[in-house]
């Protein structure tokens, strides 16, 4: 699997894992390439769009959470 340099820097920038030196390189690349700037904007918006698209994700049913609570209590009893 291969990834081009600008995509890699864009992804690392979005995840907060870009070094200062690479940040400078990315700034220069973005200044020179409008399509890369568009990709950067898309990436910035994608998370919000995904969160909106999945806002109605069902939560686990109450019995699941109840099961976790019961196990926690059981473990506490064992510890004592």
């Amino acid at each position: 699997m291969k990834i081009n340099e600008i995509d890699k820097l864009l992804l690392l920038s979005q995840s907060g894992e870009l070094s200062a030196r690479n940040r400078k390189r990315l700034e220069l690349m973005l200044a020179a390439d409008p399509s890369a700037r568009k990709k950067a904007e898309e990436l910035d918006n994608l998370r919000d769009v995904w969160q909106q698209a999945t806002a109605d994700t069902p939560f686990p049913s109450p019995s699941v959470l109840q099961g976790i609570r019961q196990l926690r209590r059981a473990r506490e009893t064992c510890r004592r």
């Binding site: 995509d7 890699k8 690392l12 990436l43 069902p58 686990p60 699941v64 959470l65 473990r75 506490e76």
Partner: protein, 188 residues
């Protein structure tokens, strides 16, 4: 990514404050359950695995020494999802059983292509379906980024691969979404 609230809650739990665990479960319910659900595609399996993740977490919390709690939970979830889908049917992890079957059915009934079926949904539905059509490894990276904002370094560790491969999987996923969603993606 050290979250001091997590560390405090974990410490409180270790010292016997049972409420601290409920706070953690509540805090990470959405990203964790959303991830598991979209990897297993079955609500029943997702609920089982979600519960199992916390049972394992409770069991291992006394020995937990990491400082990336959410990544740790996702690592447990990743392993449980793989175990579950392997037991169920190996190809399920690699293919989109529900979506592919649904789209194929839709196409045969309506004489439409899967692309046409995608276009009949609203934009949010199209995005969810398009993500569901991604290969599992790419979908997993996408979800870890979008649901939980995990760093690529942690994603690579969870997938037992290099950071470059994790980055490439995300890049491939985005390329596929760009193609599948075409106009929707252009509006982002």
């Amino acid at each position: 990514m050290v979250n001091s609230t997590d560390s405090e809650a974990i410490e409180r739990y270790r010292q016997g404050d049972a409420e601290a665990l409920s706070e953690l479960v509540e805090c990470y319910r959405r990203p964790l359950f959303g991830f598991i659900l979209r990897m297993t595609r079955k609500n029943e399996d997702a609920e089982d695995i979600f519960q199992e993740v916390w049972l394992k977490a409770i069991h291992n919390l006394p020995r937990y020494r990491d400082n990336r709690f959410l990544s740790w939970l996702f690592r447990i979830a990743h392993n449980l999802v793989i175990d579950r889908v392997r037991r169920r049917k190996p190809e399920v992890y690699m293919d989109d059983e529900d979506t592919t079957e649904r789209l194929a059915y839709h196409a045969s009934q309506e004489n439409h292509s899967p692309v046409a079926a995608l276009q009949e949904q609203d934009m949010h539905g199209r995005i969810r379906t398009a993500v569901g059509l991604l290969p599992a490894n790419q979908r997993e990276v996408f979800l870890m980024r979008m649901e939980a904002d995990l760093p690529f370094k942690d994603i690579a560790r969870i997938q037992k691969t290099s950071i470059n491969t994790a980055l490439a999987r995300m890049s491939y996923a985005l390329d596929k979404l760009r193609k599948t969603l075409a106009e929707d993606y252009a509006q982002l």
